[in-house]
Symmetry: C2
Subunit: 374 residues, 2 copies
Amino acid sequence: MATMDPNDERFMRRCLELARCGYGQVNPNPMVGAVIVKEGVVLAEGYHARFGGDHAEIEVLKKAGSEAMDATLYVNLEPCNHFGKTPPCAAAIIRAGIRRVVYAAADPNPDVTGNGNRTLKNNGIEVTTGVLHDEAVQLNEQFFFAMRSKLPFVILKAAMTLDGYIADVRSKSKWITGADARNYVQEVRSGIDAVLVGAKTVTVDNPRLTVHDRQEKQPYRIVLDGALNTPLQSRVYSDKFRNRTIVIYCEKSKKPRKIVQLEKKGVNVLSYKGTNDVLPLRRILRDLRKQKINSILVEGGGTVFREFLQQKLFAKALFFISPKFIGGGKPVISGINKSLQHAFHLENVSSKMFGEDVLIEGYSPLYKEYMNKE
Amino acid sequence: MATMDPNDERFMRRCLELARCGYGQVNPNPMVGAVIVKEGVVLAEGYHARFGGDHAEIEVLKKAGSEAMDATLYVNLEPCNHFGKTPPCAAAIIRAGIRRVVYAAADPNPDVTGNGNRTLKNNGIEVTTGVLHDEAVQLNEQFFFAMRSKLPFVILKAAMTLDGYIADVRSKSKWITGADARNYVQEVRSGIDAVLVGAKTVTVDNPRLTVHDRQEKQPYRIVLDGALNTPLQSRVYSDKFRNRTIVIYCEKSKKPRKIVQLEKKGVNVLSYKGTNDVLPLRRILRDLRKQKINSILVEGGGTVFREFLQQKLFAKALFFISPKFIGGGKPVISGINKSLQHAFHLENVSSKMFGEDVLIEGYSPLYKEYMNKE
């Protein structure tokens, strides 16, 4: 760490603001914003705007042009030093003659962390790190968690009545929550890499699981269907985004015809060893992460929630509670029957109103394991 | 209504603040504060401090003494004109030579509403009404509701896990929520007239149902025990407040010995027609209201919640949600099985955090029926 400039926090906060402009467009990449400043004057602002597009650093260096010479570059993530979809940023920073780089958090990828920092320093650039570090990690919690844990950032999302039911006795769940809460779910979906549901949800609700106003960049739709029981005509297998649907089934489910039919439609089909009900979730998640699925929104139903809870494979819970009573129906989670002393606790809990519905948000012990340390 | 003074709101807001100082001490009376002002200067402030003690008007008139002549008196409730525990305030106001009275809300008791107003006007006093009316009604919502509906203001209070359970499979419910939430329940209990629970709660949990730091002014403890099954040695029948315990049972439960034993201990025993499980709740509530029980905190368990919900006899719900999962246990309400379209909706919902627990508060249609109109 180098000397602290009193303006560092101010410009870094601006980087975080700019970074957020890429929300929903850059994942599975992190959101990154950058600012170039010379003698207290902002020369250029920019952000990573879409997956595959220029990194934020390149964006601002292009804007600043030759004026970048001897300036300070602020960015919320350590500049990369490797070829990915784009050439390394560190080299571009050096070439532009930047004198000082201030970044918030190191690259969480253990294979490359510190490389950018070293390269910059070796080329005589002054480097300041850790400015608004926690805010920067929070902003890209999905990315940081996925890189550190080698697992996707899994969010359990449920919508339930105040008496704890996710559907009435006739399995109807439309709609538990109001329009404001449902709109917010659309916003959440637009920022994650995949939505995951169980076979019963597809069979009973036949949901789209899309971001409704988008023609592209839809999240993947993952169906856990061990026994391959979901109907072929389901929306997720038939609509124009069906090539972004992934069905995960049990190897021993001998339904070759169904598999061929799904594949013919363009649906992705993956097999795993396991029983019909209990697929090897951790292995599945690790594999999905390798396919650059850094975040998954698990939208039910009860069986799927139970598995993620029991195997402790989720990072965050988003529970929408609608202020209504039905006095019976499908409980959100059942069949585990822990004692109160051995309950699963969430942490860093917060609540927020969406219309008349209340959202309760909290983090799991798994999140803590990877995120509450450097 | 008479001319509006620009300071009226300011002094009335002060009355409401003062009124709150009587919280937990004046119920089943309303909380009332009063201010005497002459030429913009506050001469006296006061409030109704304890049940049976001076009304707020008397309190300030005593403090102001002869200076009250020609002054304005502010008070959040219409001054009474009848002999209750204390002589009428209207007469004292007239005697003191007050020139103008400003109050927020009329007395909600239909038998006396407007009497104070008329008496004051007939004696040449200028009267202004309706200043901060809604805030004044809200402050004393229990009293206003009870007076208008002839039923106690019933609050359903539950503490549940985020997956909707009020106890684990072994019926343990200690503790679902943390210390902050439980302290708040103590505060709520201190401001209501009675706590009500079902027979199973007494049998399984053996709760005290008291305000823990109080030697007196405990709420009544009402046990709905149709079949007279609760153990004689239960805390609510044995501790030093047992004379404030009321057991309500079914006439046809032939357990004369149990009744005698309870009465010998000093416990109050009331019989009603009905089956063991379904007591005539509305009649019971009307009778309790006649005994000046204006507010009841219903603390469970599930059977009792179900009855109050099914018979729509509650005004407000206070649901504490603890951010933990147990994946099975006693649901907060079951056995009603409404469809989502016919769910019971709460209104004016708000949420608040107590430590890591979330309180969701809302009002019932019954509340709306009596309170959203004048």
